[in-house]
Every structure is written in C-alpha cells, then in structure tokens.
C-alpha cells in the first residue's frame, strides 16, 4: 500500500471516516469551542450551503413556472402559478435519449469494471516483469485530454460504421467509454485488492496448487463487491455525464441525454421552464445514485487522486 493511498483512503470503504475521537475535555463533537466560534462556524456552513444550493433553487422554481408567462423581473420568485408543462415537454423531448444513456451507462459500467477487476488483481497480486511500468502507462491514459485522440478516433469510428452499419451512436460510445474507463477501474481494483486480499490465503492457495484463474475466481472475485460498487457507480456517472465524446461521435438521432440537453437548451429557445426542467430530468439518475449510494460515489472520487 502506498503512502498517499493510506493518507487519502484509509479503508477501501471508508472514504471519509466519521469523527471517532472525543476531545480531551470529554465533550461530544460539535460542542468544542466558545459559543462565538461555534456560531461563526455554523453561520459560515449555512451560508455556503445556501450558495451551493442556489442554482438548484433557480432550476426548481423556474421549471414549475408556466411556459411563456414568466416575466424576467420575477426570475427569482416562487411561481405565482404552478405549471408542470415544462416538465412534460422536456420529458417528451429527452425520453428517447434517456433510454439510450441508461443503456450506455449500464453497459460501460459492467464492461470496464470487469476488465478493471482482472487488471487490478494482476497489478496488485500477480505481477509480471514490467507490470509497474505498464500500470503507470495505463494511468497516464486517465489524464490525457481526449482532444488528443479525438481526430483519429472519429475517423476510426466512421470507418468501423461503414463496415458494420449498426455500429453507430450508443454502440460507439459504449466501446469508447469502456476503453477509456480501463485506467480508473484498474486503479480502483488494484488499490482495493492491495489491502483486502490477505497474502497468506493467497500463498496457501498457491501451495495447494491452485492456478491464477482459480485463485482469482474463488478467492478474489467473491470479496470484490465493495470495489465493484465503487467502479460501477463511477463509470455509470462518467458515461452518463460525458459530453465531449457524444458531441464528436453521435448525432441528435442517436446521441445520449447530454447531447439532447444541449440541443434543448442551445440556440434561442426562450422556454426557460422547459430548459430548467430538462436540466433536472437529465441530472436525476446521477443525483439519485449520489443520494442513495453517496459513500461509494465518494470512494470513486477519492481513487481518482490516488496513484
């Protein structure tokens, strides 16, 4: 395990441990310090909370205003007249691409997690000569600006499409996101296996004559669930939120929801309730994932910083 890894990710599943310690005075957390310093702290925390939630307020308030009936002077006020038209029309326009994004996210998450698990096992537990160098070369792939591969990639995908006519839109994106997701997934699983797989069990299995594949399947894979959750969530979210690849490789008939949201909001569309509802609809799946599985989401975030 590395120094940085230990510092950043104390336990695979505990990205940010809760405060365990109690102070020397024996007081519970949150009661330290004078009344003044405590009020300043909570005051600041609440002020920042309001600032962060402000765009969300704008989205919600605007999305429920009646189409066309909004005067710009009332942009920040609650809707005087409640209307779900914006939501209805945005849903209508975004629904097909939501389905496509769902397929994209799920497929990419499964495929790159599987590859990441196998790679992570090898790079942490079954090294070959030069494995560390190969791993570093993988990691570099995580940092590259995708602009640097975009021109030849677009050409390559176009010729693939000419050879195989159904290879369009989402199919292209599944391939591309799976491949460019390999580095981060490998990293997540490698860091996880480095602590979660006890060495002595591995050695014992080797002595008993178990081969690599057998050890991977019967010892490593069954305890991989926590890392899978982190990798699946991370990949689903990145594929769902991606726009750059979508812009270069898809069009309005076969693109994912980010592409369609940009179409909906772009140009001179004056229908703000529809646009703002569209933003909420397009963000709902990743927000749900975040709310329901937040700690795993943070686990993925953290691993991005760990080399």
């Amino acid at each position: 395990m590395t120094a940085t890894t230990d510092a950043v990710l104390p336990e695979p599943l505990e990205p940010i441990p809760e405060v365990r310690r109690y102070t020397s005075t024996g007081r519970a957390p949150g009661t330290r310090g004078s009344l003044l310093s405590r009020s300043v702290r909570y005051g600041l925390l609440i002020a920042f909370t309001l600032a962060i939630l402000m765009p969300l307020y704008v989205l919600l308030v605007t999305s429920f205003k009646p189409t066309g009936g909004v005067s710009t002077a009332e942009a920040w006020t609650l809707p005087s007249q409640f209307s779900a038209d914006g939501w209805r029309s945005a849903m209508e326009r975004l629904a097909p691409s939501m389905g496509r994004s769902l397929i994209l996210g799920v497929m990419v998450a499964i495929l790159s997690s599987m590859l990441g698990s196998m790679n992570g096992f090898v790079f942490s537990r079954w090294r070959f000569p030069g494995a560390q160098t190969v791993f570093t070369l993988f990691l570099f792939g995580m940092f590259i600006p995708y602009q640097a591969v975009m021109i030849p990639l677009t050409g390559m995908m176009l010729s693939a499409e000419q050879a195989v006519p159904w290879f369009t839109g989402i199919a292209k994106l599944i391939v591309v996101h799976t491949i460019f997701g390999i580095p981060i997934c490998t990293l997540i699983f490698r860091n996880y296996y480095a602590t979660a797989v006890p060495n002595d069990i591995l050695e014992a299995a080797k002595i008993d004559g178990a081969g690599m594949w057998r050890i991977y399947r019967s010892i490593v894979l069954p305890i991989s669930a926590p890392a899978f959750v982190v990798a699946l969530i991370w990949q689903f979210t990145s594929a769902w939120n991606d726009f750059l690849f979508a812009l270069f490789l898809t069009n309005r008939n076969n693109g994912p929801v980010t592409f369609m949201l940009n179409e909906l909001a772009g140009g001179q569309n004056p229908d703000y309730p529809q646009i703002m509802a569209g933003v909420l609809i397009a963000s709902l799946p990743t927000l749900l994932v975040y709310i329901l599985l937040g700690r795993y989401f943070i686990g993925g975030l953290m691993s991005g910083s760990v080399k």
């Binding site: 925390l45 600006p145 030849p152």
Partner: protein, 307 residues
Amino acid sequence: MSRVKTWLPGLALVSPSIILIAVFVYGLIGQNVWTSLNASTRRVVVGGKIVERAQHEGGIGNYVNLLSSSGYQHALWNLLVLTVVFLAGTMFFGLLWAVLLEKGVRGEGVFRSIYLFPMAVSFIAAGVVWRWLLSPQQGGGAIGLNQLFQKLGLDSLQSSWWSSDSRWNMAAMAIPAIWQLSGYVMALFLAGFRGISEDQREAARIDGASELQLYRHVLFPQLSPIALSALIIIGHMSMKMFDLIYAIAGPNSYVASVPATLMWTQMFNQGDKVMAAVNATILLVIVAVVVVPYLIYTNRTEKEMGR
C-alpha cells in the same frame, strides 16, 4: 522456466486491456501527432477557377504557425486565467470547508453531501444553469445573478461576467467550475485531516500551541501531499475543460475560447484538421508536463515504501 510459468497467466489476463490502451491511447496519440505534421492544401477560387493552394507547409512549421497566431495566444491566455482562478478558488473553499467540518460538527454528513453534490451533475447540465446565472444584462433587464444582486441591494456587484471584453473575463468562467469541484477538494482534505492521529493534536495542545499554531505547524504540513494531488487533478481538469465552456458560451465563442474549445472550432467551423491536431498535441504536451512528473514521483514513493 517455472518462474515464467507463474507470471505468464497474469500477463495473459491483462493483455486485452494492454492492447486496447496501446491502440486507443498511444496509437491514436501517435496518429494525431502524425496528422499535425502533415502538409495540407485548400481550394480557393482564383479568377473563376478552383485551384489548390498550400495551406500548411507541414512539419514543425505547423506548430510555429499556431503558436504565433493571435487567436491561439488569446486562447492560451484565457486558459491561464481560468486555471489560476479555478485552482485558487477550489483550494480556498475546499480547505476552508474541510477546516470547518473536520472537528466534527452536528449535521456534518448533511453539509458534506450538499457541498459535494455539484460533482454528481454533468458539466453540460451545470453549464445550462450557469449560462443563465451569468447573464450579462444589468440594470432594468437584468436576470440571473445580476438581478439577485439588485434584490439584495448589492447593485455594485453586477457584472457582465465572462462576456465582458476585459482581459480577465475568464475569471468569471471559473465560478461555475469552482462551484462544481470545491466539494471534491474538501473531501480530499477532510480525509487527510481524519488520517492524522489525535495524539499529535493533544501533544501540541499540551505544549501550549494555540489552535492557529496547531493548524499552521502541525496539521497543514501533513496535508501537503494531498494538496499536491488536488492541484494536479484540478489543474489537469482545467486544461481539458470543454463541456462547461461549450454550454455557457456556445460552440464558437471567441471571448471565451480556450485551446480545448478552439480545437472544436478549428475542426468544424474552419474545417482545418491539421491545425486542430496541432492544437490537440500541444494541449497533450501541456497536460503531460504537469502529470508525468507527478506519476513518476508517486511511482518512486511507492517503491521507497517497499511495496
């Protein structure tokens, strides 16, 4: 021979990924560099006839041409302003929030989740809201933040944001980026604080250190590896930033152009594939200059830790 037999299956298990990364990361980068060195011609109409004229002479000259063009220098300057403000902002808020939360306050989980939630939203979705919030109109026709400032009696804070013709206009473009990623930096620092044992704080307090001295001389120095990680990650995100600027400023904005968005313009607006490839290659080099030493450094620390 038996040693080879032990590691060979490991290499075999990773080989699909090695091939994919080799082709899609390094192969495509190579192809892009090759494109960037090409000569190209363009068709122009001279005296009613279409003739081929040399557009780029090829070789290193292509790079000289792009680097000396005012449009590119403008984009580089914008990137510099964006990156500096983005880094300063995320580090400031990230560290501040971590310090506010690290001792354990009531409702820590709630604050943490709210500060991190913008990370779960796509840059495109965030960009759509922030385009509205950062609308340049002031006074009577103001919407977005400018109108909010008026309502709060802070008229003097109104600004034309990124649309202003100031040299520093991209500082405003960093606001939504800071909104999205400060929570991430907070999470990194928070994990760092929790990794420092309570004994050290106690020892410092017994030695009579004030809270301020405790942070300055005991806690902050131990967070420097995390600060470095955060700087690298936010810095490289800033250099790659495309979606957010595309969503806020539109596809071909000159005032808000950075190399990543300029590449899109070169490719599809100007139909100049060679210059787009030159631009993408330079962007890759800029990112590599930052990331490669970092990868080597962490690689070395790992070895020193005796993996």
